[in-house]
Symmetry: C2
Subunit: 454 residues, 2 copies
C-alpha cells in the first residue's frame, strides 16, 4: 500500500536513505541541503487538503471493493432500470440503456482494445428487457428482446453504481485530484533518482507525491546531460516544444528566452503562450554558478485560494479575463506562438485547475476595454504580491546531480540572479511532459505495485 | 495576397494543376476522384461563416495598418491616460500603467527574446507621468516621474488601440478563428504534396484552408512511409502519443485500437481520452483495400450548431456534461489513459471550440446521476443522428499517394468496412500535431509570403 504522506512528513525532514519511498527534505534558505547544521525539526503537516477526504479515506477509496456477492436482480420495467441487491443488503440501480450500451460480449466490445465496438447507430436507447438473472452470485445476465445476452460481473457492476457516493469514489480513484497545499515550510518530498528509474515502488511514490504536492526533488542523478530524457522514458515519452526535446538553461548570448540569461526570473509557469502548456517539468542541475541562482517555487493553487479569500475581486478578474501571451523567435525551428489563457483557470466546479502566468511572455496586446485595464493590473499585482511573500516561497539551491520535478499547471517557479566565474558556470537541462502521460504511468504503477484495479 | 476561397470555389471542382494555391475537389461517393465522368458543376459557396466578417473584411483585417502619422499626444492626468491624436483625426487612449508595463527599451524588454524583463514587482501601477511628446510624427516619447523614458512607435501603438474595433481586428489577425461551415457538398480543398513542402505560398494556402475548413486533401505524396513525418517537419515537429511518433492504420491481429481492424469506424475525433487531444491529424494512403474502406468526414462545429438549433436541450446536455473516456493497452509503451471531456466544448463566448467524441473509448464509467442517464443517451443519439445524415457526410476514397490533413478539434472522421485481398491490403500512415505549432507556422508564412506583421 502507499505510504501516508502525513505519516512520512512527521519524520525528521531528511531523506530516508535506502528507502524506496519518497522522503521529505526541508531546504535551508542558504541552499545547503546536504549538510544540515542540526537535525531538522519535524515538518508540519501540509496546510490543508483540497477536497473533503482524509488520508484514511483516500486509502480506502483506492482499495478494491471487497468481492461482494449478488443476492438478486430484477427489472423495474416501468422505470427501465435493473435493480441489483448485494449480499450486504445495498441496492443499486442500472438503466437499461446504459447496460445495453456497455455489453461486454465480443460482438459489442473489441476485447483486445478494451473498447466499445457497438455503434450508437445500433444502440436502441429505448430498449426493453427480456429477462435478468443472477448467475453463481457473481454476475448478472440480461437477455434483451432480440435475444442478445449481456453478462456483467459483480465487482465491475458495483464500482459503476450510480449512487453519488460510488460515483465520487470512482472519480477519485481515476483522477487522483486531491492536493496538499503548502508554503515555504514545505518538507520538500525527495527521492533517489536511480531508485525511481529502477524500482516500481519508488516510482509510484514519486508520482503520487508529484500529483499531490506538485513538486518532488530527486538526488543522485549522473552528472551528464540526458538524465531528464531518461526520466521521461520512465513515464513514456517527453513533450517536444520549440525549444527542442530537451533544453539547456544557461546564460547565452542573444538569449531567445529570459531563462537563458543570468537575471532574476520572477515566479512563473512555463509556456503559457501555448493554449495547452506542458503539464510537468523536469530540471536537472549539471553545474552551479559561482554565486546566486537559488531556485524558488510557490504552490499556485494555494496562492490562488489565498487571493480568492483576501481579494475576491482580483481573483474574479484573473479567473474571467483571458490574457494574451506571445513567444517569437527561433530555436529547434522558428516560432511565432500566440495564446489566450486565464491566469487562474477555474473548472466547472469552481476549483482552481491551472495557473498560466509568465510575465516575460505576457503580450503587450491586452484585449480588455479601456476602463478595465487598471483593474487588471491591480488584480495581477495583488496576486504577485501574495505569491512573493516570504512565508509562501520555497527557496532551495540545486546542486549538481539534483533534479527537480514539478507540476507546471500548479507550481510557479523562479530563479534568483547569479554570477558565473571560472568553471562555476550554471547549467541545468530541462524537459517537459504532459499529465495525461504521467497519470497513465501512475495508474499502471498503482495497479502493479498496489494491486488496484479500477 | 491570399486567394479568396469563395472565388476559387466557383471554379470547376477539380484540382488546379500547376497552381501553387490550394484548389478544391468534389469527391464522388463512389470514390473515383481522379477521373470524373463529366465536368463537375461549380461548387456552391460554403454554407455559412462563423463570425460576422466577409472575405473582403478578412483580407482588410490582415493588411498592415497604413503607417499613420501622429498629430499630437497629451496626458490626461486625472484619468491617468495618454491621448494620442492621429493624422486622420482619430484619437486613441492608453492607460499610464499599460504604457509603463510595455516600455520597449532594452532595460524593460529583452530584445533578443522579444520578451518583457520588467518585473511586476518593479512596476508602479499607480505611476504618474512627467512629460509626453511626439517625435518626428512617428513615435511618442513618455518620460516617467523617475526620468525613465519610454518610446512607442506609431504603428505598434495604433494596432494596440483599446477601442473595441481595434481590439477585435487584432484578435482576428492573431488567432484567425473564422470558420466556413460545410456539408457533403463541400468542394474539398486540395493541394499538391510536394508544392506544400517546397513552396511557401502553397504551404500558406494549405494552412489557411486547414484553419478555415478544417480539412485539406493533398495529392502526389511518394508511395512510401515517412511522408506524414516530412509534412510535420514543414510545420515544426509532430506530436508523439502512445501509438508512437507515427502509426500504421492496418487490419492487425489483436488490435489495440478499433481503427486497426477492417470494421466500420463511426464518426469520431481521435484521442478524447487525452485531456488535450491532438489538434491536427495527417493520414497518408499507401495501399487501398480490395473493396470498401471509403473515408467519411463531417464538420463537427457545423453539426453542433445544427444540434443547438434543432435540439437545444441535447446541445446543452452535451456541452455541460463531462464524459469519461478511457484507453488502456500497449503500443509505443503501455498506457492507461483516462479523461473527462465535454463532447461539445463551448468557449466563454458561447462558441463551439472543440468536439471530443469517440464512441469506442467512451468509458462504461458514466458520472451522471441516475435520473440523467437516459437524457444523456437521448442527447448523444440526437447528435449522432444529425452527423450521420447523408447530406452532412463528405465521403471519399483515398488512393495511394493521397494524404488528408484535418482539424481533429472539429472534424469527425470515419471509415466504412473493407475487405483486403491479395496485394490489395489497406494501409494508411498517420501522425498528429497540435494547433499551437500549426498556427505558429501559419503566422510565419503569412508574414514571409504576405508581408503581414501583427
Amino acid at each position: 500500500m502507499w505510504l501516508s504522506r502525513i505519516a512520512r512528513c512527521a519524520l525528521p525532514g531528511r531523506m530516508q536513505r535506502g528507502s524506496t519511498a519518497v522522503a521529505s527534505w526541508r531546504p535551508s534558505q542558504s541552499g545547503r541541503p546536504e549538510r544540515p547544521a542540526a537535525p531538522t525539526p519535524p515538518c508540519p503537516a501540509a496546510l490543508q487538503f483540497r477536497g473533503e477526504r482524509t488520508m484514511a479515506a483516500a486509502a480506502a477509496a483506492a482499495l478494491p471493493i471487497t468481492r461482494l456477492q449478488l443476492r438478486q436482480a430484477r427489472a423495474l420495467v416501468e422505470e427501465r432500470l435493473v435493480e441489483v441487491e448485494w449480499e450486504d443488503g445495498y441496492k443499486s440501480l442500472y438503466p437499461f440503456t446504459w447496460l445495453r450500451d456497455n455489453c461486454q460480449c465480443p460482438r459489442c466490445t473489441l476485447q483486445s482494445a478494451k473498447s466499445r465496438s457497438l455503434l450508437i447507430a445500433d444502440l436502441d436507447i429505448h430498449t426493453g428487457i427480456h429477462t435478468v438473472q443472477v448467475n453463481d452470485n457473481s454476475k448478472i445476465s440480461v437477455a434483451w428482446p432480440d435475444r442478445h445476452v449481456s453478462e456483467f460481473e459483480s465487482e465491475w457492476l458495483r464500482k459503476r453504481c450510480f449512487s453519488s457516493d460510488a460515483r465520487r469514489e470512482m472519480q477519485k480513484e481515476l483522477y487522483m485530484d486531491e492536493r496538499n497545499y503548502w508554503d515555504s515550510k514545505l518538507c520538500l518530498p525527495t527521492a533517489n533518482f536511480e531508485e525511481v528509474l529502477h524500482d516500481d515502488k519508488a516510482a509510484l511514490a514519486w508520482l503520487m507525491d508529484l500529483r499531490r504536492f506538485g513538486i518532488v526533488y530527486l538526488r543522485g542523478a549522473p552528472l551528464e546531460p540526458g538524465q531528464v530524457a531518461r526520466l521521461s522514458q520512465r513515464i513514456g515519452y517527453l513533450r517536444h516544444t520549440f525549444y527542442g526535446p530537451t533544453w539547456q538553461v544557461q546564460d547565452k548570448p542573444q538569449a531567445n528566452n529570459v531563462a537563458y540569461t543570468s537575471g532574476t526570473l520572477s515566479l512563473h509557469t512555463d509556456y503559457p503562450a501555448f493554449h495547452n502548456p506542458p503539464g510537468v517539468q523536469f530540471l536537472h542541475c549539471l553545474r552551479t554558478a559561482h554565486e546566486g541562482g537559488e531556485s524558488e517555487a510557490v504552490d499556485g493553487f494555494h496562492m490562488a485560494e489565498l487571493l480568492r479569500r483576501e481579494d475576491p475581486e482580483a481573483f474574479q478578474t484573473l479567473a474571467s479575463l483571458k490574457v494574451d501571451y506571445t513567444n517569437t523567435g527561433a530555436d529547434y525551428c522558428d516560432y511565432k506562438v500566440q495564446s489566450k489563457n486565464h491566469i487562474i483557470n477555474v473548472d466547472s466546479e469552481g476549483q482552481v485547475c491551472r495557473i498560466n502566468y509568465n510575465n516575460a511572455t505576457r503580450d503587450s496586446v491586452l484585449n480588455v476595454p479601456l476602463g478595465e485595464v487598471q483593474l487588471f493590473y491591480e488584480a495581477l499585482k495583488s496576486f504577485v504580491n501574495i505569491m512573493s511573500r516570504p512565508e509562501n516561497v520555497l527557496t532551495y539551491l540545486m546542486e549538481p546531480g539534483h533534479l527537480v520535478t514539478f507540476d507546471n499547471c500548479r507550481v510557479l517557479h523562479g530563479r534568483r540572479t547569479y554570477v558565473n566565474k571560472g568553471e562555476k558556470v550554471r547549467h541545468l537541462e530541462g524537459c517537459y511532459l504532459d499529465w495525461d502521460e504521467a497519470m497513465s504511468r501512475l495508474r499502471i504503477l498503482r495497479e502493479s505495485v498496489g494491486g488496484d484495479k479500477p
